[in-house]
């Protein structure tokens, strides 16, 4: 059709008509199409599984859901520590928004009341741990106002979100903080330990770092869950794909009595304030800033109260201020993190005299009712020692010696105990002192379950050399001092409580324990703990009875020829029969400010009721001036609370805090 016309229009380009070249070109394009089809086949059929998996990982994230840690109850069922849900601000640092990160940080910092450096540091830290795929926690436990603020600006803050995660709630604040412990992120060093390595712990886990939180972490922590979510490339949630619920941790029922614990701490703090501000310079002690109380059930070894002052608030250690707070605690010269109740040892002074009395009676160094005359001084080779009461107590037997804390009597007992049975020479042997101390649990490990226990220093032959004295020999004067608990008799409040309990219960030394039951959230009991005997004192019952009677008179017998009981001014009218012993121990240090010798430490140990003992208490007040002055009133408060006497206190509330006697001498009261 119209062939001539078409031919006529075309010939301009001569023989090089477009057709041939165009056909060639379309062939080339067809080939390219084939290449593309081949490419698609390779990607979608041959490599499909690979890309599918990669794409999956690309978009599905597992957000860890922290398990609520187990609750801790006190012996009466009061909740001590629990877990509550709280809002946290987290940032998911995304792969491709590294460039956007800096402006985001700048926007975020004022909102969160943080500095950009802090935010960067958090991110860097988590990056260093290789956990940048997990959200970086920026603020913990935020208030609703901040929550709203963040939600409002969500679009400007890609990757930032508010999440609900449990936070630890220490309902009693600083109370029993050393016992309960605190939480913290697991450290690299901890992850190396077999316990954590084999226990399935991971970087970033928050674990118990001390106290019961630390020791029972495996029980308390539960199992983490996870939220499977699909997120877009900017980390924003697109779809929930269900979640694996976390398994809550086990609950612990402690042996502590929260009320008793609080009373002990309050009493301790009160007495410290009184000491610091006492109007009489003789009794004033500006350095009285620390102390410890331990109360045990003498029948089982269960710990009823365990106070260490000063303390810390574990709530702050799980808050946003944890870093600064931790630093401030570490810088504090008083070392508030130190669990003084079992991790601090002090010279025990006259409270040691109970060991001496039991040893002397058991070894027949003195009989019941036999007396030693106290003229107010005592001569040892090379030294003349004085009693704290200058005109002496007159003739005193064991009970009376304990009652009035007669030094001369116990110097004499020291002489007898140090006698070498083979040669008959006196002031020779030191080991019996240590042996008898350890028979009551002093200077040896108590078997306590919390870490940080200090075993103290007990006397033995090699002790002077061991503790670096220039002259390792023992001199009579030093051995005499051992009899009244001075020198090489440094023990912890926990050891002193066990010692008292051992005397009270007839010589059985129990392992102190804090957890009586581990319970699954449903109520099923996982483990139960009860009394566990660590050893016996190896003393005849009548010997301990004699010691106990001396303690009873010390606490409850106000008058008498030989003098008043050292703590009788506090307990003479106590409705429950209390047995106790005071102790005043040289601190052995000079006050760097005044150059004068520092006020001695104040001790008091007691048990009650006398006939059927239930509770043993040991109190130490650093630089507490005198046992009867500082420590005994604290013990009294504890006993008042324990026996439910808070309401009808028999007039003793207004008791002037003035000791009946105060040592003029460094040696015991």
């Amino acid at each position: 059709m119209a062939g001539d016309l078409t031919v006529g229009i075309r010939p301009r380009t001569g023989e090089e008509r477009p057709n041939r070249r165009l056909a060639f070109f379309s062939g080339v394009l067809a080939l390219m199409f084939l290449v593309l089809v081949g490419r698609l086949a390779r990607l979608q059929i041959a490599q499909q599984q690979y890309f599918q998996r990669r794409a999956e990982v690309n978009s599905v994230r597992l957000y860890p859901l922290l398990a609520p840690r187990g609750t801790m109850y006190d012996r009466t069922g009061r909740v001590l520590v629990t877990t509550r849900p709280a809002w946290h601000v987290s940032l998911l640092v995304l792969k491709h928004n590294r460039a956007e990160l800096e402006p985001l940080i700048q926007r975020l910092a004022p909102l969160l009341d943080m500095t950009p450096e802090e935010i960067r540091a958090r991110i860097d830290q988590q990056a260093a741990e290789g956990r940048l795929f997990e959200p970086v926690r920026l603020r913990t436990d935020i208030d609703p106002r901040l929550h709203t603020l963040i939600e409002e600006r969500k679009l400007e803050l890609p990757g930032v979100f508010v999440e609900v995660q449990p936070v630890r709630d220490y309902l009693y604040g600083a109370s029993a903080a050393h016992v309960i412990g605190f939480l913290g992120e697991i450290s690299r060093a901890q992850l190396e330990l077999p316990r954590y390595r084999q226990g399935g712990y991971r970087m970033g886990d928050v674990i118990g770092q001390s106290g019961i939180e630390g020791v029972f972490d495996e029980h308390l922590r539960g199992e983490k869950g996870a939220r499977r979510v699909v997120v877009d490339a900017r980390g924003r949630l697109v779809e929930e794909q269900g979640q694996e619920d976390p398994v809550p941790g086990h609950d612990l029922v402690l042996t502590l009595d929260a009320a008793l614990q609080q009373v002990a701490e309050a009493a301790l703090r009160d007495i410290l304030v009184k000491l610091q501000e006492h109007p009489n310079p003789k009794y004033r002690s500006p350095n009285a800033r620390a102390g410890a109380v331990v109360a045990l059930d003498v029948r089982t070894g269960a710990v009823l109260a365990m106070a260490s002052v000063p303390g810390f608030d574990p709530n702050l250690l799980v808050s946003d201020q944890r870093a600064e707070y931790y630093r401030s605690l570490e810088r504090d010269p008083l070392r508030p993190m130190l669990p003084r109740a079992w991790g601090g040892t002090y010279p025990v002074g006259s409270t040691f005299k109970l060991v001496m009395a039991a040893a002397a009676l058991e070894e027949g160094l003195i009989g019941r009712g036999q007396t030693v005359s106290c003229p107010g001084f005592y001569l040892v080779p090379g030294d003349r020692k004085r009693d704290w009461k200058e005109d002496g107590h007159g003739p005193v037997d064991v009970q009376q010696a304990i009652k009035v804390s007669c030094n001369v009597f116990f110097y004499e007992m020291a002489r007898r105990l140090s006698r070498d049975p083979v040669t008959g020479r006196e002031w020779r042997r030191v080991d019996p002192f240590g042996d008898w101390a350890s028979a009551f649990g002093l200077g040896i490990p108590t078997g306590f379950q919390l870490p940080g226990e200090a075993v103290g220093i007990m006397p033995y032959e090699g002790a002077k050399a061991r503790f670096g004295h220039p002259d390792p020999r023992w001199y009579p004067s030093e051995i005499a001092n051992l009899g009244i608990g001075q020198g090489f008799n440094d023990y912890s409040a926990l050891q002193m409580a066990i010692y008292t309990a051992t005397i009270a219960n007839g010589g059985t030394r129990y392992r102190p324990y804090l957890v009586q039951r581990i319970v699954r959230p449903g109520g099923e009991v996982v483990a139960e703990f009860g009394p566990e005997v660590m050893g016996t004192a190896g003393v005849r019952p009548d010997v301990l009875e004699e010691v106990r009677r001396g303690m009873l008179r010390a606490a409850m017998e106000p008058g008498g020829r030989e003098g008043s009981g050292t703590a009788a001014h506090l307990f003479w009218d106590f409705p429950v029969k209390v047995a106790g012993k005071t102790g005043t121990a040289q601190a052995g240090r000079l006050d760097p400010d005044t150059g004068k010798e520092e006020q001695p430490h104040s001790w008091f140990v007691a048990f009650a009721p006398f006939e059927n003992p239930e509770i043993a208490v040991a109190v130490v007040v650093e630089h507490g001036v005198a046992g009867s002055f500082a420590a005994a009133p604290v013990a009294r408060e504890v006993l008042v609370q324990y026996f439910g006497l808070r309401e009808p206190v028999t007039g003793a509330e207004e008791q002037p805090v003035t000791p009946v006697e105060v040592p003029a001498e460094p040696a015991g009261d």
């Binding site: 062939g3 380009t13 070109f25 990607l43 979608q44 059929i45 890309f51």
Partner: protein, 390 residues
């Protein structure tokens, strides 16, 4: 334009007072290529569906309206269909006369884009002219303008094309100018499409292959220079060689596209089920729409679309080969070549077969200008198909 004498044959026509440049009046007008229209319509339909499927997440996030892009794409498709009808029914030989003004208009528009305050910038590039809510991409217009002008000009030059100074050289100079303008935006993809199509037309028009090879060599050096001097292009190019070397940086785009395509498998995840569109894959509804299509519709879907494009190309070249004169042949070949080049480059990029260049997928990608001028080009093709000689 020297065919005046042929027009006199139709002096009695209603429009005889016009310059008689209408030899086609002698030809019996046949119905236009319906298969071509059908193919284009199917692709347009797939495009609208895919634009919606790939964009609703982003649209909802950005504008609070999941249909934001869909509405616009449908509106532009309407405009495009009108443009197609216009192109189908106007005398396309008029384009020969208007070729030069059209080219000049295109160049002016390209220059205007670069004028601050007139041109609109987005994503680091100045590619748009704004008219109220509507924005227009002159480089899309330029693609068609260059094809029209080259077809006209090459036809006019005829045998002179065999001389380097009369043929290849002047074209190279002008193309280099256009190239430069487009690169200033910067828009390497359009530059490549225009350059490739120009070569196709020069080649088909009979320019000696040696000249083309020489000019092509120079052009390649130019492209290489453009890549090396602009850091982001270099990074993109290197990312193409090994996307996984920098998976979070320059390789991110390609990797995300590969994840999308690869996870599609044989049958795909199903329409609307793409995961990569959730902000993983940028440009998911524009240049990278084929990746989402492959993810949702799988190998079957991808190959179907490729097949439709291939059919489109075949019809286009068939029309060119059967066209009544050189101008028609070159115009049809140019329009088809421009579309096919863009398709090959786009899918090549998305499948990591070619280095990343931003180029829309004709008829499928979101974008009004591309759609309108692609449909107008298809209208021209159909127009030419009415005068087939074979």
């Amino acid at each position: 334009m020297g065919e005046d004498e042929r027009g006199r044959a139709v002096a009695g026509d209603r429009r005889a007072r016009r310059p008689a440049v209408r030899p086609w009046r002698k030809l019996r007008r046949k119905p236009p290529d319906f298969a071509l229209f059908l193919t284009a319509a199917i692709l347009l339909g797939i495009g609208v569906v895919m634009v919606f499927s790939s964009s609703y997440v982003k649209a909802d996030r950005l504008y609070g309206d999941p249909y934001y892009y869909l509405k616009r794409q449908v509106a532009w498709a309407g405009v495009g269909l009108v443009a197609m009808l216009v192109a189908l029914n106007l005398d396309y030989w008029h384009l020969r006369r208007w070729a030069r003004p059209i080219l000049v208009l295109g160049i002016v528009l390209l220059v205007m884009v670069l004028v601050p305050g007139v041109g609109r910038a987005a994503g680091g590039a100045r590619r748009w002219l704004g008219f109220g809510p509507v924005s227009f991409q002159p480089s899309e217009f330029m693609k068609l303008a260059v094809v029209i002008w080259l077809s006209a000009s090459l036809t006019a030059r005829g045998a002179r094309l065999r001389q380097f100074s009369q043929g290849t050289l002047p074209y190279m100079v002008l193309l280099a100018l256009i190239f430069g303008l487009v690169l200033l935006q910067p828009d390497l993809g359009t530059a490549v499409a225009i350059g490739g199509t120009s070569f196709l037309l020069l080649f088909c028009a009979g320019v000696p292959v040696v000249h083309l090879l020489a000019a092509g060599g120079i052009g390649l050096v130019g492209v290489a220079w453009a890549i090396v001097t602009e850091e982001y292009r270099l990074r993109r190019f290197l990312a193409f060689l090994d996307p996984f070397a920098d998976p979070l940086g320059s390789g991110f785009h390609i990797i995300q596209a590969l994840y999308a395509i690869g996870s599609g498998g044989l049958f795909g995840l199903g329409l609307g089920n793409s995961r990569q569109k959730f902000f993983y894959l940028p440009e998911q509804h524009t240049d990278f729409i084929f990746a989402i299509l492959s993810e949702e519709l799988g190998f079957i879907g991808g190959v179907t679309v490729l097949g439709l494009y291939f059919f489109l190309a075949w019809r286009g070249f068939r029309i060119a080969l059967a066209a009544p004169d050189t101008f028609s042949t070159l115009l049809a070949a140019g329009v088809t070549g421009m579309l096919i080049l863009q398709i090959i480059v786009n899918i090549g990029v998305v499948t990591a077969t070619l280095p990343i260049t931003g180029i829309p997928l004709p008829l499928l990608s979101f974008g009004g200008s591309s759609l309108v001028f692609s449909l107008a080009g298809i209208g021209i093709l159909m127009n030419i198909s009415r005068y087939q000689t074979q």
